[in-house]
């Protein structure tokens, strides 16, 4: 690999005869231009030409894709939707926090119009969700919890203790024994730590 060189979007890197364009690059008028600001990476993949790509950091970042299971934290709720910060994609932590939205009709698979966001999520809950859409420039990732295995995994009660799930819609605080409503995820037994 050649030594790391910085580039900005729009910078012409090389011509198509020298390299094949990879991620973060664009092919125009027979030349390869950078579309991201970062480091230029040239890799010999084993074909005739090396692949040229622009990366933000030395390791490539995993982006949430449609259908990926993500772990997120609820930041605010609204009668119509809940806003979340996406923390993990699968089991890889993300360096930046992406924003997601869980709409009211995507919380459950059944009885969608009777959903109350206050009885499904609260700010501070850790939720397992699936990406249904990447959204456009202004909107966030659209997520859904409309499956048995998706929903609230970790939640704290009003007293501050971590709650124990009792059913798919209720969790109980071990200190005050008060029950609170959440949309609880049914975690597979092999992922639970004893």
């Amino acid at each position: 690999m050649s030594p790391m060189k910085l580039c900005v979007p729009g910078e012409r890197l090389c011509s198509t005869e020298d390299c094949i364009p990879g991620t973060g690059t664009d092919l125009r008028h027979g030349y390869i231009f950078a579309t991201l600001a970062g480091y230029v990476l040239r890799k010999n993949e084993g074909e005739e030409l090396p692949v040229i790509s622009v990366v933000r950091e030395t390791e490539a970042q995993l982006l949430p894709d449609v259908g990926a299971i993500v772990t997120c934290k609820v930041t605010s709720i609204n009668p119509r939707f809940a806003k979340v910060h996406i923390l993990y994609v699968g089991s890889t932590p993300l360096k930046d926090r992406f924003r997601g939205t869980i709409r009211r009709e995507d919380v459950r698979a059944t009885e969608k119009d009777k959903v109350e966001t206050y009885k499904s999520f609260r700010p501070g809950d850790i939720v397992l969700a699936k990406v249904i859409s990447l959204g456009d420039v202004q909107s966030n990732y659209l997520l859904t919890t409309a499956e048995n295995e998706l929903g609230v995994v970790v939640a704290h009660s009003e007293a501050g203790a971590q709650m124990v799930p009792i059913s798919w819609c209720e969790m109980q605080c071990p200190r005050t024994h008060a029950k609170e409503f959440r949309k609880v995820a049914r975690v597979q037994p092999e992922y639970l730590q004893a």
Binding site: I77, N78, P79, Y118, P123, R175, T176, H177, A178
Partner: protein
């Protein structure tokens, strides 16, 4: 062993402070058969919090008791915290699109949809202006979301709610006095009725609206309500009697 009730009973009528603890660790059983321990049920009302085996006091006030097993802390507070189902007097501060923003005296302004009035449709908008008083109920009121109000009940009828207050005076009292005014057989209201007739709307957020025949009578009623907060019933009745004789 009536330890649980006894511990509460000895403090009835006393002033408790946040941090006072009632601990209910079961005593060690000497003969090991467990028959001496009776399970008793106690209902802890507002001002109490359970913490494992203890019950902690989290508001300062006087411990009250109601048969058979209900205990609560009677506390004085002026700041209102919205709670679902309570009827309050709100002041309309802004009209934006489909909703009105209403000030209820809490930390956040509440929203009131224009369709939440009796007989309101998309074409038939209710006649509500900025600065109007509305008597309405909370449908959503919790610490994580903006509170929402409605002026109809679950059947769709107004039931006394809506815009009011063309004349009259709106003033603020403490929440304890509001609870006393709204009690079923309120002595304060009964004593006031004897002086002269007036209209009274009481909101659970500490706001009271009064209207009497003349401006002077309205002001008298408002002043009396504000002063009878810290009076015993004897002092209040002497004061009302003096006012009734003086105004006639």
């Amino acid at each position: 062993m009536d330890t649980v009730h006894a511990r509460f009973k000895e403090k009835i009528g006393e002033v408790l402070l946040p941090g006072d603890v009632f601990s209910f660790r079961l005593p060690e059983d000497g003969d090991g058969d467990g028959n001496n321990i009776k399970t008793e049920k106690i209902i802890c009302g507002p001002g109490f919090r359970r913490n494992g085996e203890e019950v902690q006091v989290c508001k300062s006030g006087i411990l009250r008791h109601k048969q058979p097993n209900l205990y609560w802390i009677d506390s004085q507070q002026r700041r209102y915290v919205p709670a679902k189902g309570e009827s309050v007097i709100g002041i309309v501060t802004a009209k934006s699109g489909d909703i009105f923003k209403v000030d209820v005296g809490g930390s956040d302004q509440a929203s009131l949809s224009y369709l939440a009035f009796e007989g309101a449709t998309k074409r038939n908008r209710p006649n509500v202006q900025v600065g109007d008083l509305v008597y309405s109920q909370f449908t959503i009121a919790n610490k994580d979301m903006e509170p929402e109000l409605v002026c109809i009940d679950s059947c769709g009828r107004a039931n006394g709610m809506g815009v009011f207050g063309a004349d009259g005076l709106l003033f603020k009292v403490s929440l304890g006095l509001v609870r006393r005014l709204l009690a079923p057989q309120s002595e304060i209201v009964k004593d006031l009725e004897k002086i002269f007739p007036f209209e009274l709307v009481v909101g659970m957020n500490g706001r009271v609206w009064v209207k009497a025949k003349t401006v002077q009578q309205t002001l008298i009623v408002a002043n009396l309500l504000e002063t009878c907060e810290n009076m015993t019933s004897q002092q209040r009745q002497t004061l009302f009697r003096r006012v009734a004789e003086g105004s006639l």
